[in-house]
Amino acid sequence: MNDKLKQLYKDVILKHNNDPFHYDKKENATHVLEAYNPLCGDKFKVFIEVENDAIQSIHFHGYGCAISKASTSVMVQALENQSIEDAKELCKNFLFALHHESEGHPSREDFEAFAAAREFPGRLKCASLSWDEMSRFLEG
């Protein structure tokens, strides 16, 4: 099998796809985002509990490919218990790591896993889907 493919579907993505973090519906959350890609039908709801300018708890539920599901799971894990300002920064870091070569920009291992999507331009949107929506929400 193709090495670039193995790189893309490596442990981080497979682990999060098979066992997503906080995968649950919390319809009563203070904020509910919908990350939807009409071209492929991937759709996730992200349930955020915001209190005192911080994300107290965050969950997600929905349907998507391994990449979009794992990326949403990584996002939920990374943003829980973060202040809004820190969450903004993390979104920027993730999206930067996704779109740019990471040399000189030490990034988290779970973020870097998605950088392999650069080899599959058709799949970049899958990796950024929930993060783009989260950025729009945080930047208000």
């Binding site: 099998m1 193709n2 670039k4 579907y9 039908g41 490919c65 990449i67 599901k69 599959f120």
Partner: protein, 409 residues
């Protein structure tokens, strides 16, 4: 002109006519339901028109313009002969299937439709043969009624009979489902609708390239297809309409080349089909479509169908050997369009694994979202074949699917 002697359907020889396979020798192109690759003659035909023959049509009196007009108009003859239309007057050039359907909706149906009337479509329509009818129903207060299908993906003809009524003003049905591959009994649909005096549009986007079409025999009122799904260029297509309909329909686009006489007070339109072809059309594209239909007419459609039945049957059989793969759409009469899905693997992941090995398939809802809802799946992977595809390509696809399944579980 019909060729008396047809060429044998041999995919290995036919492939040599397609430059794309020289540029991508390892490409297994299994996305023919989305768009087909183009033979050299089509590419040359379009290029040569711009290179040596370019002039606007119907206007100039100089030689180049006369020749361009003749060449452009000759394509109407070829289209008529390809689908068995009685005359070139029945052949309207469009920008594709979608444009053809929208023209019929706006020009033919809208004025006949009022509150509480009904338009019948099938559960397996492409969005192109759904949304235009849905919009005109919303506008007029009419109802869009859907003919259901069984779990194999076959239309429920009893339900169709029940739903046909005095309120039905139009039936629109897809000939071959672009998602399930089901071949619908269009002759029966037309027959039943006509018994009630209801006109029928058939969406032939997926059928013209492979199956013999005779609109006179089918007796449909309208038949639409796209150039790029019959080996031709994108952005061109054909609307066939019965004489009595086309002559009574008013144009919806106005402009140059569709008139007989114009004053500041009024305009007298040209006759059909010209009155539907306002402005400068995609002349080179239409000429390319002519070459595509010429390419297609070299082959005996019975032979094409026979080969594709064998190839599609083989693909379905081999796909069954992939663990936990489910084929969606098991109609008795089906084309070589095969949708499948895995319970825990998303179609886009499937397409990525195949794509990494140079195997092009489609993943998603295939512009048939309501159909996906019926099957309660968000999407499928779809392999669609034509007669330049080979059994070896099926084997390659199945091999990768097995490796992927092993890797992801």
């Amino acid at each position: 002109m019909q060729l008396k002697y047809k060429i044998m359907v041999d995919p290995l020889i036919i492939r040599q006519d397609f430059p794309i396979f020289r540029h991508h020798p390892n490409l297994a192109y299994l996305d023919n339901a989305a768009t087909m690759q183009k033979p050299e003659t089509v590419i040359q035909g379009v290029a040569n028109f711009y290179r040596k023959e370019n002039a606007n049509i119907h206007r100039g009196v100089y030689q180049l313009a006369i020749e361009a007009t003749e060449k452009y108009e000759r394509v109407r003859h070829r289209a008529a002969s390809l689908i068995g239309a009685p005359s070139t007057k029945n052949i309207v050039y469009t920008s594709g299937t979608t444009a053809g359907i929208n023209l019929v909706v706006q020009s033919f149906l809208e004025k006949r439709l009022s509150k509480d009337d009904e338009v019948l479509i099938t559960a397996m329509e492409h969005h192109a043969n759904l949304i235009p009818w849905q919009m005109v129903c919303k506008k007029t207060g009419a109802q869009l009624v859907v003919i259901p299908m069984n779990e194999r993906g076959e239309l429920d003809m009893d339900a169709f009979k029940e739903r046909l009524s005095g309120r039905t003003k139009m039936v629109a049905a897809v000939h071959i489902s672009n998602t399930l591959g089901s071949i619908n009994p269009v002759e029966d649909i037309v027959d039943l609708a006509h018994k009630r005096g209801v006109p029928v549009l058939i969406d032939g986007a997926q059928s013209v390239a492979h199956y013999p079409i005779d609109v006179k025999e089918m007796d449909c009122d309208f038949f639409v297809f796209s150039g790029h799904k019959v080996f031709g260029p994108t952005g061109v297509g054909i609307l066939y309409g019965k004489e009595e309909h086309l002559s009574s329909m008013a144009p919806v686009f106005f402009g140059g080349d569709m008139i007989r006489e114009v004053s500041f007070e009024d305009t007298i339109f040209a006759e059909h089909p010209q009155k539907f072809e306002a402005g400068t059309t995609n002349i080179a594209g239409i000429i390319g479509l002519g070459y595509a239909m010429m390419f297609l007419q070299q082959y005996n459609k019975k032979q094409i169908v026979k080969y594709l039945d064998e190839l599609g049957g083989y693909a379905r059989q081999e796909l069954k050997s992939v663990k936990s793969l489910k084929i969606v759409g098991k109609a008795k009469r089906k084309s070589p369009i095969i949708s499948f899905h895995f319970k825990n693997i998303h179609p886009h992941d499937v397409a990525t694994f195949l794509g990494a090995e140079n195997i092009a398939i489609r993943a998603g809802h295939h512009c048939t979202q309501p159909l996906m809802d019926i099957f309660d799946i968000p999407g499928t992977s779809r392999a669609s074949f034509t007669f330049y595809n080979t059994f070896e390509e099926v084997d390659r696809m199945v091999k990768v699917l097995k490796e992927m399944k092993k890797f992801l579980s």
